[in-house]
């Protein structure tokens, strides 16, 4: 029997196989898995290639902004006492978008840092145009901790380096300071910048010739003398005259280099190597030495200093008349302008210029400071100019240059170059022959007489054998054409001990009133300093005489 209609027959295999529309999702899943594995492998391969050729950027050292790459070396005194170092500080920053209440935050910060400008601080904290704003630099770790304790949102800190001067005002003018970016601005920091950077790169300190113990005595006595004399300023320098090392160097008034911006500019000035003055009678020992060395006089020659002495029609006068016949010793001991002028004229302008040049009085001092002024020396046009230079006028030099010139009396007539760097035993010392040893010895003895019986008596400390010379120069008036009797630059230069001279000290007081002669203002201060520092220098004061 035949079927009624057409029939579709299927095989058994076709019955067993699943329908085609059911197999598609499984195949897609496998594909996706394969693609995912491929992508992962591709990423891994890319990372491998990156690592192979470029290294891992995450592993590179990240430089902390604000921290100086080149470290400045520590400065230490000759005994290793720390004078300047570089410490970690912080910049206080803010992210304005995260500051909840700019006014409240500003008020809280002002309680910690009252020197900040309130309006500016609030404006910065509200400045949403910037991601980060700087609020204050140079925070110490303690200050940072105090800010953190406020618990204010949106504030942050960036580390930076800061120069720290742990001795405070001590030796401030000599050391100088750096700005917030550690760029040197003054003093040794400026003058020895290259040396400090090189030493910093090697991690070693720079050893200066200063001695903080001596520095403290010199500064305290300088301040005492300046205040007593109502001086406008003052300076002092103590030298080891054999080696040229500067043991102490002070300017008054002083300042704190840790907060230099809050000090008046006048106080920040290094007066020792940076200020020039007409030196007055402290130059007379050199005038006498010139005349002796050039055989224009002898130690035995006698002078009548009561006789009027005219130069170019103008009388040279002495502060007090010196009666009787006088020798070189009396000219120095009683500071005779007439005697010094006579001898200067005998030496003559050309030789005088030669000697002053050899003494280093025209050039800036060799001290490694920021301000090193050369002398102001108008051309010598007349005999009066030559005579004037003989007793300390017509040539303005720095106290450092004058102190350097006095080293001839401790080195058999040779001048030694000054330095602020400590010298090791055996280090070469630059010497300039100026006078013969005999001349230097004679003048040193005369300076000893000046302290024993002349104008420098106030500096006499038994046992220390101080030799020296006073100086009182009238200052030029504001019109720069005439001198003012009531304004003096008073000083005292000392060499000691006279029997075995080794140390030179110069102390000067600027703008001292009438009557403030060097012998009355500067000489006592030098005596007090010498007495206090004697044990530190290994010198003995005669006990019985004190």
């Amino acid at each position: 029997m035949k079927p009624a209609g057409p029939l579709n027959f299927v095989t058994e295999e076709e019955i067993a196989a699943p329908p085609r529309f059911e197999a598609a999702p499984a195949r897609n899943g496998v594909r996706f898995l394969a693609i995912a594995i491929f992508i992962v492998l591709l990423l891994l391969a890319g990372r491998a290639v990156q690592l192979a050729f470029a290294g891992d950027p995450l592993a590179e050292p990240r430089h902390q902004p604000g921290v100086a790459v080149t470290q400045r070396a520590d400065l230490v005194d000759r005994n290793g006492v720390l004078l300047a170092t570089t410490v970690r500080a912080y910049i206080l920053t803010a992210t304005p978008s995260r500051v909840w209440d700019a006014h409240a935050t500003a008020q809280a910060l002002l309680r910690l840092f009252p020197e900040l400008d309130a309006a500016q601080l609030e404006r910065r904290l509200s400045d949403k145009d910037h991601d980060v704003v700087y609020l204050r630099r140079g925070l110490s770790p303690d200050e940072r901790a105090r800010v953190l304790a406020l618990g204010l949102g949106g504030l942050g800190f960036t580390p930076e380096d800061k120069r720290d001067y742990p001795q405070g005002t001590l030796a401030a003018a000599a050391l100088g300071f750096t700005n917030v970016d550690l760029e040197p601005m003054a003093g040794v920091e400026y003058g020895l910048n290259r040396v400090i950077r090189e030493a910093g790169a090697h991690g070693s300190p720079v050893r200066l010739s200063l001695d903080v113990r001596l520095q403290y005595v010199v500064e305290s006595e300088l301040a005492r003398a300046a205040l007593a004399a109502h001086a406008g300023g003052g300076d002092a320098i103590l030298l080891d005259a054999r080696s040229g090392e500067t043991l102490a160097m002070a300017s008054w008034p002083s300042f704190d280099p840790n907060a230099f911006a809050s000090s008046p500019e006048d106080a920040r000035r290094d007066r020792v190597a940076g200020d020039v003055h007409e030196l007055g009678s402290t130059i007379k020992p050199f005038t006498l030495a010139m005349a002796l060395d050039d055989h224009k006089t002898t130690p035995d020659e006698r002078f009548d200093l009561m006789q009027p002495f005219l130069v170019d029609g103008q009388a040279i006068t002495d502060y007090e008349d010196i009666r009787g016949m006088s020798g070189l010793r009396e000219i120095l001991a009683y500071s005779s302008n007439r005697g010094a002028a006579r001898l200067a004229l005998r030496v003559g302008a050309q030789r005088q210029q030669y000697y002053l040049d050899r003494l280093g009085l025209f050039a800036p001092s060799s001290l490694e400071t920021g301000r090193r002024q050369p002398a102001i020396a108008p051309a010598v046009r007349s005999l009066r100019d030559v005579a004037g230079r003989g007793f300390g006028y017509g040539l303005a030099a720095t106290p450092a240059a004058l102190a350097g010139a006095y080293t001839v009396f401790a080195n058999n007539g040779q001048r030694v170059s000054l330095t602020l760097l400590a010298r090791a035993p055996g280090d070469p010392v630059e010497r300039t022959p100026v006078f013969s040893p005999q001349t230097a010895r004679i003048i040193l003895d005369d300076m000893r007489a000046t302290v024993m019986q002349g104008t420098g008596k106030a500096a006499d400390i038994p046992g220390l054998e101080i030799a020296g010379k006073t100086g009182t120069a009238e200052k030029l008036g504001d019109d720069r054409t005439s001198y003012e009797e009531g304004r003096n630059f008073s000083s005292f230069a000392a060499v000691f001990p006279a029997s075995d001279p080794r140390y030179v000290m110069l102390l000067s007081l600027d703008d001292v009133g009438q009557g403030g002669a060097g012998g009355m203002t500067a000489a006592p201060a030098v005596g007090r300093i010498a007495e206090r520092i004697a044990p530190m220098l290994g010198l003995r004061v005669t006990r019985a005489a004190r």
């Binding site: 391969a45 990372r47 592993a59 720390l82 970690r88 720290d164 742990p166 007495e531 206090r532 004190r546």
Partner: protein
């Protein structure tokens, strides 16, 4: 045979890539560790410098003079008070015999 070689080569390449990745990653970690140590050393040195500065501040002559004036009646000795060794016998009283306490 060729197919097997290809598979082995592919496996070796994968092993090399993974090995290189691990070596570089380890090196990076070591470098990062070194840098972390260097930062730690720098921080410690900074702390040491700060402490040295504080010591210098406390030992400064001015600070010591202030403390001496505030808390003691001591003053720096005068130069004339110093004695040479040979003068000690004459300047100081001779030592005295004392009976030892029981």
């Amino acid at each position: 045979m060729r197919r097997a070689l290809h598979i082995i080569a592919a496996i070796i390449i994968v092993i090399l890539v993974v090995g290189l990745y691990k070596a570089k990653s380890d090196a990076s970690k070591a470098r990062a560790h070194v840098h972390a140590l260097e930062r730690q050393i720098a921080d410690t040195q900074a702390d040491m410098r700060a402490l040295r500065a504080e010591i210098a501040r406390l030992e400064s002559p001015e600070h010591i003079a202030e403390l001496a004036a505030q808390h003691t009646a001591l003053q720096p000795g005068r130069a004339g008070q110093a004695l040479p060794e040979r003068a000690i016998d004459t300047a100081l009283p001779p030592p005295q015999m004392r009976r030892a306490s029981p």
